[in-house]
């Protein structure tokens, strides 16, 4: 019993802020161009597809039955993608590098920090980047008149939850990867998820079986959640989406913490 208490106490020192502070200080020396480029990707999609393609398509029906202009249909999806990109980039590539090359976590865990402090701190940083991308994107949406309802303001906290989910799971998965080749799998999963998660057209175009697969993936829940808020067309599914991300966050943090302990405190 005391052994168990000792082990749990070793997990968390309540000092996540030291990890976050380190990350913010380190960002100063990072290449800002790379950070900014991640933001522009969905913006370019919005401009080319939303404005250009949208002129031909006209309006599209959302899953809740509302008719909205094409640009207003894909903009929230791209917002969710933006949050995902920021969070995943930080929690996979950056974490992988710190894990295997910079030996950063090894150094952190020889101090009083516990694996949960490290996991939470790194996830916070990924989340911050996701939030930064998403806020910029929201501003562009507002300027282009693509926020159709006051509920759009709720898209901001929703984006944080989405980024939190992707960052937690991303870090958990990264803790199992050993080579850069394996890291490519992350991109291999991200691209089709980006293209097919009811991002550019309603999910109803797919046969039922495909729809189930899409609905099992996290991005679809993110897209639907944000789209509900920015178009103001909401239903009870909001809770399902939030529940999905709650689960994703919980599992991600649990697995990451266990992995860090196994890797550095075995």
């Amino acid at each position: 019993m005391t052994a168990l208490a000792g082990r749990t106490r070793g997990l968390y020192a309540g000092n996540t802020r030291a990890v976050v502070a380190r990350g913010l200080l380190a960002t100063k020396s990072n290449n800002w161009l790379i950070i900014v480029s991640g933001f522009f990707e969905p913006v370019f999609y919005l401009l080319s597809l939303g404005i250009g393609f949208g002129a031909i398509v006209g309006t599209v029906q959302t899953s809740t039955g509302a008719e909205v202009p094409y640009a207003a249909f894909i903009a929230p999806a791209l917002l969710a993608v933006s949050a995902m990109n920021g969070a995943v980039y930080d929690s996979t590539w950056n974490v992988f590098f710190k894990l295997h090359y910079a030996k950063l976590y090894q150094g952190m865990l020889t101090t009083t920090l516990g694996p949960l402090d490290v996991a939470l701190g790194e996830i916070m940083l990924a989340l911050l980047r996701g939030a930064l991308y998403a806020s910029g994107f929201m501003i562009i949406m507002q300027v282009l008149g693509l926020n159709l309802s006051w509920t759009a303001i709720l898209a901001l906290p929703a984006v944080l939850i989405i980024a939190f989910g992707f960052a937690s799971l991303g870090m958990a998965i990264t803790s199992y990867l050993k080579t850069f080749q394996q890291m490519d799998w992350v991109n291999f999963v991200m691209l089709p998820m980006f293209l097919f998660s009811a991002t550019f057209y309603p999910i109803s175009v797919y046969p039922q079986a495909i729809q189930w697969i899409i609905q099992a993936l996290p991005l679809w829940h993110g897209v639907e959640l944000i789209r509900g808020f920015t178009t103001g067309s909401l239903d009870a599914m909001v809770w399902v989406h939030l529940g999905y991300f709650g689960l994703m966050i919980g599992i991600g943090i649990l697995v990451t913490t266990r992995r860090l302990r196994k890797l550095f405190l075995n």
């Binding site: 000792g6 070793g10 030291a18 502070a21 950063l104």
Partner: protein
Amino acid sequence: MPAPVITASSLVKKYDDFTAVAGIDFDVAPGESFGLLGPNGAGKSTTMRMIGAVSTRTSGELSILGLDPNLHGPDIRSQLGVVPQQDNLDLDLRVRDNLLVYGRYFGLPRTQIAERADELLEFAQLSDRKAAKVDELSGGMKRRLTIARALINDPRILLLDEPTTGLDPQARHILWDRLFRLKERGTTLVLTTHYMDEAEQLCDRLVVVDKGQIMAEGSPASLIREYSSREVLEVRFGSDKNSEAAERVAGIGERIEVLPDRLLIYSNNGEAELEKITKLGLHPITSLVRRSSLEDVFLRLTGRSLIE
């Protein structure tokens, strides 16, 4: 004698089928400089990780500062300074920031860390490089910064895993000087090394470790006295002729070791043994008489060289 700061008894660490540490016993007294000497793969680093409370023992007992690392990992780590075998400085941060951020990991107050960071930069002779990027530092400077970083929490024990491996001779001497000053101030040092000169310079007492077990224990001088002669005569006859010559010189000195490139003849008077060899009509290409070192102790104990 004051209570030891580290006590290990029958300490074992296994990874699956591989036994890295196979039951070792030792004590470290406060203020002592204690060394683990052995070749690569002897289990030194694993032992250090267990002392550092970042690796759980498979069996046996271990007490660090009176605490069990299985139960009090963070409490123990807050009182330790760790210098790992490979530098893991934060390359995204500048020299002084490395110290500040590391201090924050321990949850220490900012003002206290800032003051201490400047003292430590002075101690590590890096004050003029405090705004430099870590990558711009030489190997020796990085090592000194790692040591400064390990001291940010004013640790009671400093753990150093192969502190000077890979450094040039001048950088090593600077580092030894710094470590010696710490020792003079009363910091307990625990270090691993496979350099006998390092062990002789820094350790009050050491254990010779091989294949996860302790082969011998004592001060460098007492180990040399016990396991070797006062002097060693090294003679080279050329690669092909060493073993042939070894047969002819048999009986000279107390003991002879045949290495691929030379013969080691252990004796209390090396010059006298060399004379005997020349009288036999043998003419070594080179000959050298030197004092016995821990390398000789290791060779005697294990039949192998420290650096392979």
